[in-house]
Each structure stands twice: as structure tokens, then as C-alpha cells.
């Protein structure tokens, strides 16, 4: 079967674009990095893609709030033409994900509910976390996961904020929760959420940094860690568009 084209969106300061490319590649997609400025200039680039991932990093150096400037580029620029294309991309059922800074971008664009505030401990934090997929979620990226996802976080503004997390869960929009340790004070341990349709996922942790067994810190001592690959999220998106 052919490999579905995937766009990894990067802005000035995005830095996990190559990690995301590796993940999509291993998952069976055909990824390419497209800069936000190129998308603004040529919104039709979106039409050729089946999957879009807004990669992590520090777009615009987090100036004025993480993700906000890149969100502005993706929506407001050029009278909002690109924003319209992005919304119709989603409406056509094609998967979109925002990881870390990409999650912050997608909440700022309004494609995802809630917002990301400063970690409760007030500091950037990098550590491995365990994520349990929400069984009732409508999220196409996480729906069929049988096991937890283990992967690192690396953020300073990852505290998920939402006025009504229960209704979000009831709507099937909570995709992933932190298990055992909530690293940033996110409400209701929420690590990842999806939109009402389930095709747009946002999450703070980095599944793209656990796409090979050997990337898990305990892989040498615990063979069951191979069941916790973050790669499965990307594979689910590829399956969805095939």
C-alpha cells in the first residue's frame, strides 16, 4: 500500500520536527517538514497531505505565551485563509496532532479545547511519564491502544486547564491521562485531548521520542516496555487514512 503523505508543521523555534518525521516514517507515512511561512504562502500544500502534525519546540521562543505566535500564523495570517483550509482539513476527517508546543498551538487556534499554563512547579521539566489511554475516548490516535504509552515530557508550560473536565471526558474528548504521576498539575491528570470529531489530538508528552524499543530507559531490564511504544499513535493515524 502507498505511504500516506504527512506534513510536519514547523515554525521558527520548532525543534522536534525531525523526531516527528522519524516517527511518521516508521509508522508508514511519507512525512515532510513544511514551514508555517510556506503554508501561509501556499495553503494548498495542505490539500496534498493526509496527516498533519504540528511539532514540538519553542516556536517564536515562547514569546508572549507558548504557541500563540505560531497559532496566529496558522490562522490569522492572510485574512485567515490558512485557518479555513486547516478547518476543512479536519472536517474531511484527516488526522491532525499537536505535540507539546504543537498542542499549545492548537489550543490557541481554537481547534482544541482548553489551554496550557505554567507547570505547577514553575519550572521546565524533562522526565519519562506513563500515559493511560482513556477507554471511552473518540480520539482516532489513541482509541485502539491496549497498553499504556511511555514517553518523555519536556516542557515548562504543560499544565492543562479546562473549566469542565468532566464534560470533556463525557464527550469522549479526553484521550490520555497521566498515570501514577501528574508531572505538571494538569487538571484531572489530563495529558492529551481531542476535538469533538476525534481526529485532532493534542498532547504534551512526546510519543515521537519512543518509537524504538531502545529509547525506553528501562528497555534493557524490562522487555515489557516494548508494549509501551509511542509509535502506536502514529500507526493509528496512518491506519485511519489508509
Amino acid at each position: 500500500m502507498s505511504r500516506p503523505a504527512a506534513i510536519v508543521v514547523a515554525g521558527p523555534g520548532t525543534n522536534r520536527d525531525t523526531d516527528t518525521v522519524l516517527a511518521l516514517d516508521l509508522a508508514g507515512a511519507e512525512p515532510s517538514v513544511v514551514l508555517a511561512a510556506e503554508l501561509t504562502a501556499r495553503p494548498e500544500l495542505l490539500d496534498g497531505a493526509r496527516i498533519v502534525v504540528v511539532a514540538g519546540g519553542f516556536s517564536y521562543g515562547d514569546a508572549l505565551g507558548a504557541g500563540r505566535m505560531l497559532a496566529l500564523d496558522l490562522t490569522a495570517a492572510d485574512g485567515g485563509r490558512l485557518g479555513d483550509r486547516l478547518r476543512s482539513f479536519v472536517a474531511s476527517g484527516r488526522p491532525v496532532a499537536g505535540i507539546c508546543n504543537g498542542f499549545q498551538v492548537l489550543t490557541s487556534t481554537g481547534l482544541l479545547p482548553g489551554a496550557l499554563g505554567h507547570n505547577i512547579q514553575g519550572r521546565f521539566d524533562c522526565r519519562w511519564v506513563e500515559l493511560s489511554p482513556e477507554p471511552d475516548s473518540r480520539c482516532i490516535w489513541t482509541q485502539h491502544l491496549d497498553d499504556d504509552v511511555h514517553c518523555p515530557i519536556a516542557h515548562g508550560e504543560g499544565r492543562y486547564v479546562h473549566p469542565d473536565p468532566d464534560s470533556l471526558a463525557a464527550a469522549g474528548q479526553v484521550a490520555l491521562r497521566y498515570r501514577s504521576r501528574n508531572p505538571n498539575g494538569s487538571i484531572a491528570d489530563i495529558a492529551g485531548v481531542c476535538d469533538e470529531t476525534g481526529v485532532v489530538l493534542g498532547l504534551m508528552p512526546h510519543p515521537e521520542n519512543h518509537v524504538l524499543a531502545r529509547q525506553h530507559p528501562r528497555h534493557r531490564h524490562d522487555p515489557t516496555t516494548t508494549r509501551t511504544l509511542g509509535l502506536r499513535l502514529f500507526e493509528a493515524a496512518v491506519r485511519h487514512v489508509k
Binding site: 521558527p12 525543534n15 522536534r16 523526531d19 534493557r220
Partner: protein
């Protein structure tokens, strides 16, 4: 707010943003105030303020406001805040005009995207102190904790930032009369202009311009001062040194840099591609790939502005790797601070508190590495009173490239092209600043020496340069000395003719010498053949990187710098680079005590717990978690290891996710040995760095080394003597291990003259970075116990070396551990001639899969190494045999060349045959208790508590 529409007037609106939840910065201020002995009675109010110039109507304000404040997180207001009676002092802090303000740039960008006419912007912070805070207390907090007078200023009530810094463009070039000056007048000129030149150097300059029949311009004089600075020219390492022996004889020795180079030549390692030339050392451990490695210091800037100093230290060393035409892949940092619990009363005048420096430096390292997207993987944090006024910040970077011929330009006719950030009045005279000692007034006058980093711009530079090798013939970074040193070095063999007005400026009003010498960050200089310029320009436009074509590499051997066409500098490049007279220096080398020492340890269990909690040995997890060590997905062995990822690792291992091989990085540093025996210290830290990489599975026969010396003023013969001894140790160790130095850097003059008139020098500090080949990352091991029943071995013999040991530190400071009345220094850890071959055999055992866990024995000795293995694995150890008859030596001595290995019972025979030279210590137990002979059993939970609680 009423707008003023008079012609030429400026309408400034202000938007205040407050966090809905508790702002973590408010809690940081409260906690920081407590450490300064100032209790705040109530909450601190903190808000961000955005100043916008432009005629904004309500609709435009509303649209801009939605970007500036997220309604779920923040409350924003265009109202002008007013002070309310009964509240504490309110203060607004803004950046000095011209200091890089990324948030202000973002406001302009947002305005453009939203169609809101923002003409200029600035940002700041508004701090409201709780009621009852005196103005005096607020002022102390602002100066010492919250703001930094070097880059910021504040106003009570409301700030009124200058949105249009700079002045007239018409700044003349000065001629400096030197030809008629006598030596006294020359010295005065040098002091007035902070040239940091030796008397002989000033005489050489006078002679040169007398011969030329003219006076130098300010641009020429400043350029010579930068190029000839200790920082750029390494005068001490290239000096002719006379060593006065203990017998009173004078012996000439080879320049220190030549000794290190000779060691590298003698090792003749086939994997070295480039050593001691260019911006970084280059090695190749496997076909098709080369690796660039470099470590730098940023000590003086970090002392006066910890965040910015460390931040730009990281940025600078990353550019060094880019300047060696490699793509950066990882960073390292070694940080040395004064005691974080130093009483305020003991803080020298004008110095920042060590805790403030520590927090700012760690923030700065984390900010740059995290934002540019490089894993910060290896490092160390150590504390000593000797670093109180002179913190040391060592930043390292490793890069990779496809193996290809190195560029050989520039060639006559190539363009002189600057890429990246704009030039401003930041960081002027940094090279000369870092080449002088500091005193109580340094912080106040060195403001211009501090740079503020912009990691996003540097990330874009990496992207522009990655894969663009064919577009340029030479490359270097703009570091100390700015364009003067970058273009000056590139033009050494060709000459160049450049026009300063072609350099994009952050703001107008810079004098020609300021443009030429500015150390504004994130700039690279490339030599570009005219035919490739258009293509490079296209790449730059795609990535949003500014390109400036300043002129031509000429081929006539003269460096000509113009301002509006008028020459402001016209120097023979031979005089610039070779005209400096060689420095003559005198060294006195002390004879160290190398007799075996002995110690009595009354309560070894309590001593072990004290060692684990000692701030040098205790967990550094709080710091390590601040750094992204996962990005890139190539971190195979992390800085923290074990079942709970809280055990201290040895080396780290990086491998491209698709490669089976990789590199290990190990660090060695121990200034305390340096106080007793600098020669042995050098050997010991090289041993430690190599031991660290061997412990995780690297090949000890494929190790490259970086040396970074941070020392006091070398014009003091005893200080230079320590340096001479350390270089001797380096040379001998490199030869013994067959490990070549490929790059190094020295930072001298790390001294501070206190208001008391006393000199405070750093202890002799040598940081060694080892980068080694890991043939099979699938065979890597970590510093943890893995299974009950496995057998523990010590590899290598113990020796009674205690001088500079952490045992001495805890015995000296503890009241409960008293009884060590026989404590006398004796020897610091000495070289172990058996170590190199031992490491080769251990590596064979690791490659053969015979080792389950491995940890080096260093600070705190075997007892600490065993405890750390237990903590990481949350398993116990039952030790029945000690490797030395004397328990203090066996448990706590820090002799070199030793490791602990965990071996499965079935592999014991093969392991012993392979490695030899081992002592069987005991076994791993499921019961989490550490049992040592003659020592009360200690639960692993207690070990972990002591270790983790010491993370200060």
C-alpha cells in the same frame, strides 16, 4: 488613555497581563526573599506589561489583546494601573534600551499578522510587593533577586520605556595618539580604554605605528586589544615560561600549548582529523561520519549576569561546532558555584549570592539548550567557597557531519557574509573583559560586556547551514571580539575589505568601533564565492535568517575596514596576527606531598550517609530535569539511571536512532585535588573522564579529550606553577591512555579583588571532557544493581590517598563524626599505571556481555559507589571482602583507576579471566540493605533519602 496627535509625538498604549492562577514567579520571589533574610508578609503581585506604540482603536486593541492574554489562563487590561493607598510598593521593570527583547519582536509580528499598526513595542514586568514592605526592602529585592541592573532598570509606579534607542548615526572615528607616549602614559591609555595589554605589547603597537608614520584609529587600537587578548590569543599558553625549581635553578620549558599538541602528536591516534586548529576538534570513529567537539567557558559574564552569561555561553559553544562545519547534536555543562547556603554577611561586596548565580546559570543553560533543541546530557555541579565570586561555567557541544574534505578557503574574491542576528551595542569588549580580574565595581561597569542570547535565531542558523556546505569556502562564528576577530581570523592569509554600514544594526547610533567589536550573539561569518551568493540568500529567506554582504576577501594581505567608504582600519594582517611579542613568564612549581595518608573513621555508616548528602555527591536530579535530555531520540544512556531514574550515571551515550553504534561523553573535574597536587589532579580527572565512558561501554582505545583550564592570575608565579604542573599531568595522562587532546581552552584571571583588598582566586580547575566510540549501543550498561545473586567486583587496587577527598570535607565540617585527630593531608590520588590496560580488558568484558551493571569509583570512594549502585537498582548488597586491609582506605579513599562491576554468577569465571586485577566484594541481595564489613547495616531507603535530600 488619550492619544496625543501632535506631529512627531508618539502614542503609547500599555497592556497588563496577570496570571489567573498563582504565578510561579511570585512564589520564587517570596522564597528568594527568605534566603536573603527578608520575610515578605503577604503575596507578591506580578504582571507582565506590554508597551505598544501606534494609533490603536478599540477594535485593534481588542484583537491584539486576544493574542497577548489567553482568557483561560490570564486576565489582560489596557487600563493604566494606579497605585492604591495602603498597598506595598509597586515597581515596573523594563530592559535597558537596546537589550534584545524577543517578546517585543513578537508583539510586532502579531501586529503584522492581525493587521494592527504596531510601530514599536517593549515589554516589562510589574511587581507589587505586599503591604508592609519597606521601600528599602523592595530595593534590596529588586537589586539582588528580581531584576538585574546590568540589563534592566525599574521605576516606582509606572515605567516609561524608550522604544527608540540609539542616537545619531554620525559618530566620528577617533585618532589615538600613541607615538609620543612614554611607558607610563601608554599604561594609562591601556587602563583608560580597558585594553588589557601587557607593557611590551603596547610598546609593539607604538613601534608599529611609528614605523607607519601615523597614529592608530580607535578601531585599530581596539581590534589589536581584542586580537591580542588572553581570551583570543592565549598568551599564557603560548608564552615562553621559565620554571624556578625548588633548588633555585631556572629551567626553560616548551610553551604549554606546544606540550599538549606534542602529546597529541605522540599518541598519533588514527581517528583524529583535526586537533587544535579552527573552532573545534574533529575526530572520526567510523566510516562516513566525523564528530566535532568543543568546550568553552563563560565565567566572567556569568558572574555579573548569570542567566545571560550562561545562556550565551551555550550559544557560543554551539556556534563553535557550527564554525567547524558540523551540525550540533548535544550539549554538556559543568558548573562550579560558591556554597548555596553562604550567609549574606559573608558575601563580598558587589558579588551576587551563589544561590542567585546558581539559579540564574542553570536557567540560562536550560533556556538555551531546550529552546535550540539540543539535549543537554552530561555535566557536573560542584560547590566550593573558592567559586563564590568567580563561578565557573563550562559549556560543551558535540556535532556530527558527513565525512568530507574540510573547506580550505577563503579565497581572494569570496564575499564576506554575515548571517544571523543583528549587531547592537551588546557584549562590547568581552574578550578584554574576560582577560582581566574582577573587583567590586565590575558588575556596574561591565554592563556592555553582557550579551543576551536568542536561541531561536541560532536554531534557524543551524537549519540554514545544515546541508549548505557547497555554498561557502570558509566559516567561523562571531564570538569574543565580534566581527573583528571573526573576519580578522578568516582574513589572516588573504586580507579583506569590508564596509561596516552594510551590517544590519539593532538600532542606530553605533560608533564604527562598536559595530566592528560588538559581540552581539547568533552571528556566523562565511566566505561565499560570488556565484553562490544568490543561492545562499534564497536559503536564508526561506528560514527567515538575515544575510549581510559586508565586502570581499581581497588577497592583498591587508585588513581594511570602512565606514561609509572611509577607511577606519587598515592593518597588515601579519602585524595583527603575528606582531604580538611573546610573553615571558616565570613559574614556581610547588613540590606536592605524595606520602601515603591515613584516616580514622569512627562511624563509617554515618560517614557514608554524610558523604551521600554532601552537596557535591548528592543527587543533581533537580538540575538534570531542567534540561531536555531526550530531544533527538538518541539518548541511549541518560544522566540519571536505575529503576526510579534517580541514580547518578557515569557517562552518557548518544546514538542516532537508526545506528547501532554511538558515542559516550564523560566528564572529569576535581579542583580539590588541584589545591594539593595539580599534576596528579590533571591525571586523575583524565582518568575519571575516561573511566566514565568505559563504564557505560565505550572503547577506551578510541577516546578523544577536551581540556578546559580555569585558573587564577598566571602572572603570579605560584599560580602559573600550578598550571605548568597540571599541563605536565595532562601530557603524561594523554600518553598513558593513548587519548589525544583535540581541542582546549583556557580561562585565566578568574580572580576577584574584594573591597577588603584581598584577592580571591578560584582553585585550580581543569575540566576534562572525554568523547569516545561506543561500538554497540545494545551492549551499554548503567550504574545500577540489576539482580539479586549477582556478584560484585572491584576492578583495580585501592590506595591510601585522601588529600582533597570528600571524606576530609565531611570529617572537617561534621561535629558528630569527630575523632579523626590523625587527619593529615598526605597524597592526593596518584596516577595508576595499570589503569589503561585494565580499562581495555573491562571493555572487552562489557562487549562480551559479561557485565550487568558498572559504576566508577570517584568522590567518596567505594562506599559511595556501592551505595549509589544500590540506590539506582533499589537492591541491597552484602559485601564480605574489602579491597584493602585498612577500612578507611577501602571504603573512602579516592584513588584512581577503579570501578565496581556487577556480574551474573554464570559469567563470573569468564569475567575474572577477561578482566583480572579484581577483588570479589560480595553479592547483590533482594533485601534492600547495604551491608559492609564492620559497618552497621544501612537500609537502601536511608541511603536514597540522604542522597536525594542533599539536592540543594
Amino acid at each position: 488613555m488619550a492619544s496625543d496627535h501632535r506631529p512627531g509625538s508618539r502614542s503609547i498604549s500599555r497592556y497588563t497581563v496577570r496570571s489567573r492562577d498563582v504565578d510561579p514567579r511570585a512564589e520564587a520571589i517570596r522564597a528568594g526573599a527568605a534566603t536573603l533574610g527578608l520575610a515578605l508578609h503577604g503575596a507578591v503581585d506580578i504582571a507582565d506589561v506590554v508597551f505598544v506604540e501606534g494609533d490603536l482603536d478599540d477594535d485593534q486593541r481588542s484583537r491584539l489583546g486576544t493574542v497577548l492574554a489567553d482568557p483561560l489562563l490570564q486576565v489582560g487590561s489596557w487600563d493604566v494601573p494606579v497605585s492604591v493607598a495602603g498597598e506595598g510598593p509597586h515597581v515596573e521593570i523594563t530592559l535597558h534600551p537596546g537589550v534584545t527583547d524577543g517578546a517585543a519582536d513578537a508583539v510586532l509580528h502579531a501586529g503584522a499578522q492581525l493587521g494592527v499598526d504596531v510601530r514599536a513595542a517593549a515589554t516589562g514586568r510589574r511587581i507589587g510587593f505586599p503591604a508592609g514592605t519597606s521601600d528599602g526592602a523592595a530595593d534590596v529585592l529588586l537589586r539582588r533577586l528580581i531584576a538585574n541592573p546590568i540589563i534592566e532598570h525599574w521605576a516606582t509606579g509606572r515605567a516609561d520605556p524608550d522604544l527608540h534607542p540609539g542616537g545619531t548615526n554620525d559618530v566620528p572615528v577617533e585618532l589615538i595618539a600613541v607615538r609620543d607616549l612614554d611607558e607610563t602614559a601608554l599604561a594609562r591609555l591601556g587602563a583608560e580604554r580597558s585594553l588589557a595589554l601587557d607593557p611590551e605589547e603596547l610598546l609593539a603597537i607604538r613601534r608599529h605605528f611609528t614605523d607607519e608614520g601615523r597614529e592608530p584609529t580607535d578601531v585599530e587600537l581596539e581590534t589589536l586589544a581584542q586580537t591580542w587578548s588572553e581570551h583570543c590569543a592565549h598568551k599564557t599558553f603560548r608564552a615562553a615560561i621559565t620554571v624556578r625549581t625548588s633548588d633555585g635553578d631556572d629551567v626553560e620549558i616548551a610553551p604549554l600549548i606546544d606540550q599538549l599538541r606534542a602529546a597529541t602528536d605522540a599518541v598519533a591516534a588514527p581517528f583524529v582529523r583535526s586537533a587544535f586548529v579552527g573552532n573545534a576538534g574533529i575526530v572520526s570513529f567510523c566510516d562516513g561520519t566525523t564528530i566535532a567537539l568543543k568546550a568553552e567557558t563563560h565565567n566572567h559574564p556569568s558572574a555579573v549576569e548569570p542567566f545571560g552569561g550562561a545562556n550565551t555561553g551555550v550559544g557560543g559553544v554551539i556556534r563553535d561546532v557550527m564554525g567547524a562545519a558540523h551540525r550540533p547534536i548535544a550539549c554538556t555543562d559543568v558548573l562550579c558555584f560558591g556554597p548555596p547556603d553562604l550567609p549574606i554577611a559573608d558575601l563580598p561586596d558587589g558579588a551576587l549570592h551563589p544561590r542567585r548565580i546558581r539559579d540564574g546559570v542553570i536557567d540560562g543553560v536550560a533556556d538555551y539548550g531546550n529552546k535550540i533543541g539540543l539535549p543537554t546530557v552530561a555535566g557536573a555541579v560542584i560547590y566550593d567557597p573558592g567559586f563564590t565570586t568567580n563561578p565557573l561555567v563550562f559549556c560543551g557541544c558535540v556535532g556530527v557531519a558527513e565525512d568530507r574534505p574540510l573547506p580550505t578557503g577563503p579565497f581572494a574574491g569570496d564575499r564576506v557574509v554575515v548571517l544571523g542576528g543583528r549587531t547592537g551595542r551588546d557584549g562590547i569588549r568581552g574578550a578584554t573583559f574576560s582577560s582581566t580580574t574582577m573587583d567590586a565595581t565590575t558588575g556596574a561597569v561591565a554592563g556592555a560586556s553582557v550579551q543576551i542570547g536568542d536561541p531561536v535565531t541560532e536554531k534557524l542558523l543551524i537549519d540554514v547551514l545544515d546541508g549548505a556546505d557547497e555554498l561557502w569556502t570558509a566559516i567561523t562564528d562571531c564570538g569574543a571580539g565580534g566581527l573583528s576577530s571573526a573576519i580578522g581570523e578568516m582574513a589572516e592569509h588573504t586580507g579583506a575589505d569590508v564596509e561596516l554600514t552594510a551590517a544590519p544594526l539593532k538600532y542606530p547610533g553605533l560608533a564604527p568601533w562598536e559595530i566592528w567589536l560588538s559581540e552581539a550573539q547568533e552571528r556566523m561569518v562565511v566566505a561565499v564565492p560570488p556565484t553562490r551568493l544568490a543561492e545562499l540568500r534564497t536559503r536564508c529567506i526561506r528560514h527567515g535568517v538575515e544575510l549581510a554582504d559586508l565586502g570581499t576577501f581581497t588577497g592583498d594581505g591587508r585588513l581594511v575596514v570602512r565606514h561609509d567608504g572611509e577607511p577606519v582600519l587598515d592593518l597588515d594582517t601579519r602585524f595583527l596576527h603575528d606582531g604580538r611579542p611573546k610573553r615571558q613568564m616565570m613559574a614556581e612549581v610547588a613540590v606536592p606531598d605524595r606520602t601515603p595518608g591515613s584516616r580514622t573513621v569512627v562511624d563509617p555508616a554515618a560517614t557514608l550517609l554524610a558523604l551521600l548528602g554532601h552537596r557535591d555527591i548528592a543527587s543533581k536530579a533537580a538540575t538534570i530535569h531542567r534540561y531536555d535530555h531526550e530531544i533527538g531520540g538518541g539518548t541511549v544512556v541518560r544522566p540519571l539511571v536505575g529503576v526510579a531514574s534517580d541514580g547518578p550515571g557515569d557517562g552518557v551515550v548518544l546514538a542516532d536512532p537508526r545506528d547501532s553504534h554511538g558515542i559516550a561523553i564523560g566528564i572529569g573535574v576535581n579542583p580539590w585535588y588541584g589545591l594539593h597536587d595539580p599534576e596528579a589532579m590533571a591525571h586523575a580527572v583524565i582518568d575519571e573522564a575516561i573511566r566514565n565512558v568505559v563504564a557505560v561501554g565505550a572503547d577506551p582505545e578510541r577516546v578523544a579529550l577536551l581540556d578546559n583550564f580555569s585558573w587564577g592570575d598566571p602572572r603570579r608565579p605560584s599560580t602559573l606553577g600550578d598550571l605548568v604542573a597540571a599541563v605536565r599531568g595532562c601530557r603524561d595522562a594523554a600518553l598513558a591512555f593513548g587519548a589525544p587532546f583535540v581541542s582546549g581552552k583556557d580561562s585565566l584571571n578568574n580572580e576577584y579583588t574584594g573591597a577588603d583588598g584581598h584577592r580571591h582566586a578560584v582553585p585550580p580547575t581543569l575540566v576534562i571532557t572525554a568523547v569516545a566510540h561506543v561500538p554497540d549501543v545494545g551492549r551499554c550498561v548503567t550504574a545500577e544493581l540489576t539482580a539479586a545473586g549477582n556478584v560484585l567486583f572491584q576492578i583495580g587496587p585501592s590506595a591510601p590517598a585522601f588529600a582533597g577527598s570528600h571524606l576530609d570535607m565531611v570529617l572537617a565540617t561534621s561535629t558528630v563524626l569527630d575523632g579523626a585527630s590523625d587527619r593529615s593531608a598526605g597524597a592526593a590520588p596518584q596516577p595508576d599505571p595499570g589503569a589503561p590496560q585494565r580499562y581495555v580488558r573491562l571493555h572487552r568484558a562489557i562487549r562480551d556481555g559479561l557485565v550487568q551493571g558498572c559504576h566508577d569509583i570517584s568522590e567518596g570512594g567505594l562506599a559511595v559507589a556501592l551505595a549509589e549502585l544500590c540506590i539506582a537498582g533499589r537492591l541491597g548488597a552484602d559485601i564480605d571482602t574489602l579491597p584493602h586491609d585498612d577500612p578507611a582506605t577501602a571504603l573512602f579513599a579516592e584513588s584512581t583507576g577503579r570501578l565496581v562491576a556487577e556480574v551474573a554468577p554464570a559469567d563470573v569465571e569468564r569475567f575474572v579471566l577477561t578482566v583480572g586485577d579484581v577483588v570479589r566484594l560480595g553479592t547483590v541481595t533482594a533485601e534492600p540493605v547495604l551491608r559492609l564489613p564492620g559497618v552497621a547495616a544501612i537500609p537502601v531507603a536511608d541511603l536514597a533519602t540522604a542522597f536525594l535530600r542533599g539536592d540543594v
